[in-house]
């Protein structure tokens, strides 16, 4: 089945822009990115859109469809009725470059601020041995395709530009959780307590666990339940729980 859909697509740049109306053909089985490509091919040859794999694995075509952060390539047109107007805008948390393309360098800055994996002493690269049961928690977080939809939807920075300096966002707090749960990470041996650092340096306390990051994740990573809340609990161990603090002091060991 084919029909003519009504699309509104944001066109403009950092100086300004507007939502423009288009009537465009939609066919069975298509996704929003197909329609954007058809617009490029037939009506708006200069429409800027970032995309790559069209398979939900590269994380390039992040945008907002009817106000919801989505991957355009993973948003089926069948979820809309033929009468429905489909509005496509760039992600509204990051500076716009042009049309549907945003400048996501905020995320790269935050990525650089997270201290990397600290190799354990006495074990050369290639000699790491870990049990599957010890690494499977972190492996969930490795599914992240860095589409930055979680960063886009998080109200801490979406609604408060001033918090961008002090808040790393769910993607990079999840990265800290991943490293803190890594069985071979030797950060503690070099004096880095990742959970405390998450609280003090990366703004973990700004997160009020309203779960929007989990809702929009196209990889269905349980960011809040499996990364952010465990990281908060680990920070509580270090900063707010005198019993755990005392126990660690007495036993002087890291479980």
């Amino acid at each position: 089945m084919s029909y003519e859909a009504h699309f509104r697509v944001w066109r403009g740049d950092a100086e300004g822009g507007e939502l423009r109306d288009y009537q465009v053909e939609v066919n069975d089985g298509e996704v929003v990115l197909d329609i954007i490509h058809r617009l490029q091919a037939t009506q708006a040859g200069d429409l800027a859109v970032r995309w790559n794999c069209k398979a939900g694995k590269c994380g390039s075509c992040s945008a907002e469809v009817n106000g919801r952060p989505r991957l355009m390539c993973m948003t089926r047109m069948s979820v809309f009725t033929p009468e429905e107007t489909v509005t496509v805008t760039p992600m509204r948390t990051f500076p716009v470059v042009r049309d549907l393309v945003t400048d996501v360098s905020f995320n790269y800055d935050k990525a650089r601020q997270v201290p990397a994996f600290v190799p354990p002493k006495g074990v050369a690269a290639g000699e790491y041995r870990m049990r599957q049961v010890d690494v499977e928690r972190s492996q969930e977080f490795r599914k992240c395709i860095e589409c930055f939809l979680c960063q886009d939807t998080c109200h801490v920075v979406r609604d408060h530009e001033e918090n961008k300096t002090s808040f790393a966002g769910p993607r990079f707090l999840m990265r800290i959780a991943e490293l803190d749960m890594h069985p071979l990470d030797a950060a503690a041996e070099v004096g880095l307590t990742r959970s405390s650092s998450a609280q003090e340096d990366h703004g973990l306390g700004y997160c009020n666990i309203t779960k929007c990051c989990t809702e929009v994740c196209p990889e269905h990573i349980k960011i809040t339940d499996n990364a952010l809340i465990p990281l908060k609990e680990r920070a509580v161990d270090r900063k707010y729980d005198p019993l755990v603090w005392l126990g660690n002091k007495i036993r002087r060991r890291d479980a």
């Binding site: 106000g67 886009d152 109200h155 306390g205 700004y206 309203t210 609990e233």
Partner: protein, 278 residues
């Protein structure tokens, strides 16, 4: 530029905040969602408000909370001397006779603190009551946001202590449910609809309590090497299964505790007799 015309940050028009910040896509609407995004926070707020209203009335009422052999979960354990005689129930007058208000107030502080600092309820009331945010990608109305970085919300970090306190409370409510197998004269071998109500309630309360994120962390989440702690790993896995249903358990146990109290109120006030199974 003339003196005094330079805009200061504090004078920045509110319309230029958040998604309207210069440099972002210039879209005047604060959100473009077309679904009924307002429904979940509205239902959440109404549900919580209904429970707060009901439980406040019942907590201050100080009456109709005992219908032998059943005691309302709002009034157990009883820690003051001004309680009804509970015939072997959790009636410990630790606070003596100086306490003149409803004894429920001495007990409800623990489950209240547990639920108030619960990770699920935090999400629920931040969205439902404080609109922070009202829904995903819907702009919140607040000019400033510091989250849980400072007082009072930094106190949410005490959640695990309320979890510790919730355990004995759940234990006492279990004891109350077991006492439901005695009749009004204290003889064992009885079961009524009230017994069933208390059993369902305590099952849901235990499930909610054990599905807590702090419990999951304490059981094993804090470990880095599950392989060295197989028992705790298994406990962590079990709690994780419950934890996946934390929202469902939070609501079902909230409703069940309210209904258990209502049932005992109705039996105690003589609205109907407790149907007896044996």
């Amino acid at each position: 530029m003339a003196t005094g015309t330079t805009p200061t940050p504090s004078a920045t028009p509110t319309a230029r905040r958040g998604v309207l910040t210069p440099g972002r896509a210039a879209i005047s609407a604060r959100h473009l969602r077309t679904d009924r995004w307002w429904l979940p926070p509205l239902v959440t707020a109404l549900g919580l408000a209904a429970f707060i209203g009901y439980s406040t009335w019942r907590a201050f009422a100080n009456s109709h909370y005992y219908a032998a052999p059943y005691v309302s979960p709002f009034y157990s354990p009883c820690l003051a001397t001004n309680c009804a005689d509970m015939k072997g129930g959790a009636d410990w007058a630790l606070f003596g006779d100086w306490w003149g208000l409803s004894p429920a107030l001495l007990v409800l502080i623990f489950p209240l603190g547990f639920r108030l600092t619960c990770y699920y309820y935090r999400k629920a009331y931040y969205r439902g009551f404080w609109a922070s945010p009202p829904a995903c990608a819907v702009a919140e109305p607040h000019a400033k946001y510091t989250g849980e970085t400072r007082l009072p919300l930094i106190l949410q970090n005490v959640h695990r202590y309320f979890f510790y306190l919730a355990l004995p409370v759940a234990g006492i409510l279990t004891y109350d449910a077991v006492l439901g197998f005695r009749d009004e004269h204290g003889r064992w071998g009885h079961m009524g609809l009230g017994t069933l109500v208390l059993l369902v309630n305590i099952t849901l309360i235990w499930a909610y309590t054990l599905s807590c994120h702090s419990c999951r962390h304490i059981m094993g989440g804090k470990l880095r090497h599950f392989s060295a702690h197989p028992v705790r790993y298994r406990l962590w896995g079990w709690v994780g299964v419950l934890n996946g249903r934390h929202m469902l358990l939070a609501w079902s146990s909230l409703i069940s505790v309210g209904l258990a109290d209502l049932y005992i109120y109705l039996v105690s006030s003589g609205a109907f007799d407790d149907p007896r199974f044996f």
